[in-house]
Subunit: 189 residues, 2 copies
DNA sequence: ATCATTTGCCTAAAAACTTTAGGCAAATGC
DNA sequence: GCATTTGCCTAAAGTTTTTAGGCAAATGAT
């Protein structure tokens, strides 16, 4: 009986790869066990249950996204920063569709609190420092940017913008132009 | 042996109710059979498979949403129309979270073609008639509005905006003000 | 009204996934 | 070298999906 060296870390990591290959909803404890050439029950020493695995993948994706965002924002401000962060989300979703889907998982309040969620809103707030917004408008703008990034990326991932002109990249650029213009000229109530 | 009168219609309808009650991913052929107090295999005379049920719920939700949208747009134009359609999505998601989740299901190309998807983009285009946009900017704007509506509603549904000031309704209003301003002043490339 | 046909829900059964319980052997530590 | 811990195992029960074939109820023709 050879020990493969399973750990929660490795399982979550492999689960994330599996998600990118076959889709997040196809990620199962059984499939993961097959991938390690190990019996299913063995995974339950490292995972509480299958939900635990999915939550782990979601948290991993949120961390990776936040790391990429932080790297992209370093040394940038204003529209430059806006575009950089927006592209982090879009590119990550394109590279890692399964992980991106995982990041959309409805987390329990505890898991959400332990997640990189707050790093994400902090990054968006950082971008807004380049614009002239004060509270509560800044919060409104944080929510708008989150909505556009997430909404656009998930519609694009769902194939909503393919097979029709103009191409998606063109729209993306123009939408970011639009958001920049809007943030520079945020209407009073 | 009493006949319950199962039909694909009734099953999809009940599946939609189930989705709203327990969440779309908890919708299963077994659960549906229990709800009708009928054996599971009996449903397979009316449903090709479990994916078929989910697709049916998604198509139902897209139709219902399009119907509500059409009703809301009747007799409205400009910002008034924008707000009306936006609220259709938001209110529908609040009333029918399971159906709304279903509407996000990745459809096969055939199912997508048979869906109310095109009605949705047509409605958004109708709104833009009140603004001064020509192609391809109109398409960019259609995609922006779709992204914001979908993005905001799903983040809100995921609980992203609860438990923090300002409240979600306030942000929603201000975002729609912002979109209206942006559409009236869409930046050139 | 009777009989044939169709239809609707049934039982049975196989395959896949989830999860728990308990066991043995390998790794670890004294 | 031995005791303990740890890691992966077998076994087994429960749930879901899906197919195949059967019987009874509804439908419709004579």
């Amino acid at each position: 009986m050879v020990r493969v060296g399973l750990t929660t870390e490795r399982l979550v990591q492999a689960g994330a790869e599996l998600a990118d290959e076959v889709g997040f909803d196809q990620v199962t404890v059984s499939a993961l066990a097959r991938r390690f050439d190990v019996k299913v029950a063995s995974l339950y020493s490292h995972l509480k249950n299958s939900q635990d695995l999915k939550t782990g993948i979601a948290l991993l994706a949120l961390e990776e996204l936040a790391d990429r965002g932080a790297a992209a924002l370093a040394g940038r401000a204003g529209k430059d920063a806006l575009i950089a962060l927006a592209n982090v989300y879009r590119d990550y979703a394109a590279e890692h569709p399964g992980r991106y889907a995982a990041a959309q998982l409805r987390l329990t309040p505890e898991a959400a609190a332990a997640s990189a969620g707050s790093r994400h809103s902090q990054m968006t707030r950082a971008i807004l420092r380049g614009y002239d917004l004060t509270e509560p408008d800044q919060t409104h703008a944080v929510r708008l940017l989150g909505s556009v990034f997430h909404g656009y990326v998930s519609l694009e991932l769902a194939g909503g913008f393919s097979h029709s002109a103009p191409d998606s990249q063109e729209t993306w650029t123009r939408i970011l132009d639009g958001l920049d213009a809007l943030l520079r000229n945020w209407p009073a109530p």
